[in-house]
Subunit: 316 residues, 2 copies
């Protein structure tokens, strides 16, 4: 049986079973931006008068997001980090190539801010991970720490109103899954499509693709003609998040929409006040004396600044 | 490698990987009651001056629980429902046989209250399920409704301080899993080792085995020599709860203790106040005008009493 597009009755190329919605390419390429706009409005992420900074990695989600926000008329600039990950794949160089190509192909003249971690701090991600020996020989935890710090720093220093990332539904659902399995209370309390800039030094953060399935974002990039880096980061191959995604896909295969229901049910529960901690339980944060960002450490530098403070890092 | 009992260095017959604790039969048969006593104290379920009513089904958990409470010196009487489930297996008759045998073998003279659903209300579980056509031709939802109502009625009418059930960790974790996957907020808020008698007509309810793995309860029954009904209820064979248990066992196989951590993490989050709804969100309950139990229906009879009110049930 050939599925027909719900809107024009041409043959469908994408069937979003979670919405019981088959669409042709043209209508699918309209639908994803419309859905993104609905998410932006529903969760009040930002408006067209806000200056938006999109964190791009060269992957399908972040490039598609930047594309969609431009189409929707938002003032969206890009930022990226040169992480210095090679592993025989020239991973970081490739990533950068796809970002440049995207700008040239789709939105020439767009502003892209680049931070080269090695130029800025003296070591690439694998180098700092090796020296400080954090995270069981895998640089993922150091990488996440540096990315979060630098994205926040740039958004804040350059005066953007909001930093947006390309996290899709599968990303959010797998983090939620992990947070629930381990009952990571503080993470559960903060997991949302928007994080307000509620501390000095903190930028507002938003995830406009949080209701879009990963496979639909891949279809969007392909149908739109966006070339993107296809490989996962070589360090992330056995990441637990990928196992969680597989478990959720098993559920989804048994019951179309399970993944979406899981995530939206959580957001509804949040709205009903289920994840509100008593005031006194909010983690106490200070301001790092070097970089000025909020930190949970009890004295001195934040975890990011300690990374580069070789004496402390070597002592461990 | 032969594992040795942690306490006496004899060969172990049970290895509780979640506690890294191999034990011989004698020490395991001591450990399960000790663990039960710790649960009773930690969650303040009841004391030795309370009159305790144990709901028994003839299965390993409820018979073992009754046995353990007797050993621990609690004033524990039993209650059971004759459900009238046959399905070619004489399921209910067999269940009752194992209960009688347990009493004769272990605790002769114990008080057992029996409610025969057909004698009391005119129809067995399969009969009322067929007539009212509830729950997609499976009587499980009607059965649960009737069991909850009758257990509560007996505990309340006979003046027991607390009704206890044999729910083990796997039961609780799989209900939690389901409550989380579907974000059943009201169920999450009420899922706990103890439910207080906080409404007129409601008995206190407690689950002293909530920290014991299902496989360990099976080992307890076998090593203690308790004969129990081995089959699942014929109607429960494809129950979602069994699928959830299988998913949790997959996790447990990858990481010993995952199931326990999932449940205990939830209880800790509860204690930190994570699942407290705003006052105005508590479901409004009335008292049923016929049976006097609390009900969420907006007028007239409760769902249980409506079951037997043929005119209403047929109208649907």
């Amino acid at each position: 049986m050939i599925l027909k597009c719900r809107k024009c009755h041409e043959p469908a190329v994408v069937n979003m079973r979670q919405h019981k919605l088959p669409l042709c390419a043209a209508h699918f390429l309209e639908w994803i931006p419309e859905q993104t706009q609905r998410t932006i409005e529903k969760y009040r992420l930002f408006t067209r008068t806000d200056r938006v900074l999109v964190a791009v990695s060269g992957g399908k989600d972040s490039l598609s997001l930047w594309d969609i926000l431009k189409q929707l008329g938002y003032q969206a600039d890009g930022m990226t980090l040169q992480l210095g990950i090679d592993e025989g794949l020239q991973y970081s160089d490739q990533s950068h190539h796809f970002i440049e190509k995207f700008i040239g192909d789709f939105w020439p003249g767009s502003i892209l801010h680049t931070v080269d971690v090695k130029s800025a701090y003296g070591e690439s991600i694998p180098e700092v991970a090796r020296r400080t020996d954090r995270g069981n020989a895998r640089p993922c935890s150091v990488c996440g720490l540096i990315k979060r710090h630098e994205m926040n720093r740039l958004a804040h220093e350059l005066g953007y109103d909001v930093l947006v990332t390309g996290h899709n539904l599968d990303d959010e659902a797998s983090v939620l899954w992990s947070n629930v399995l381990n009952w990571q209370i503080d993470s559960l309390v903060r997991q949302a499509p928007i994080l307000p800039a509620d501390r000095p030094g903190l930028a507002r953060k938003a995830k406009p693709l949080c209701r879009c399935y990963e496979r639909d974002m891949a279809a969007y990039a392909v149908l739109r003609g966006i070339a993107y880096i296809y490989d996962e980061c070589p360090f992330a191959l056995h990441a637990t998040s990928l196992q969680h995604k597989a478990a959720l896909n098993d559920l989804e295969n048994k019951h179309a929409g399970a993944k979406l229901q899981f995530y939206l049910g959580f957001l509804n529960a949040r709205e009903r006040g289920l994840f509100t901690l008593p005031e006194e339980d909010a983690p106490a944060l200070r301001t790092c004396e070097r970089c000025g960002q909020p930190t949970g450490t009890t004295a001195g530098l934040c975890t990011f600044c300690r990374l580069w403070d070789k004496k402390q890092a070597v002592v461990k």
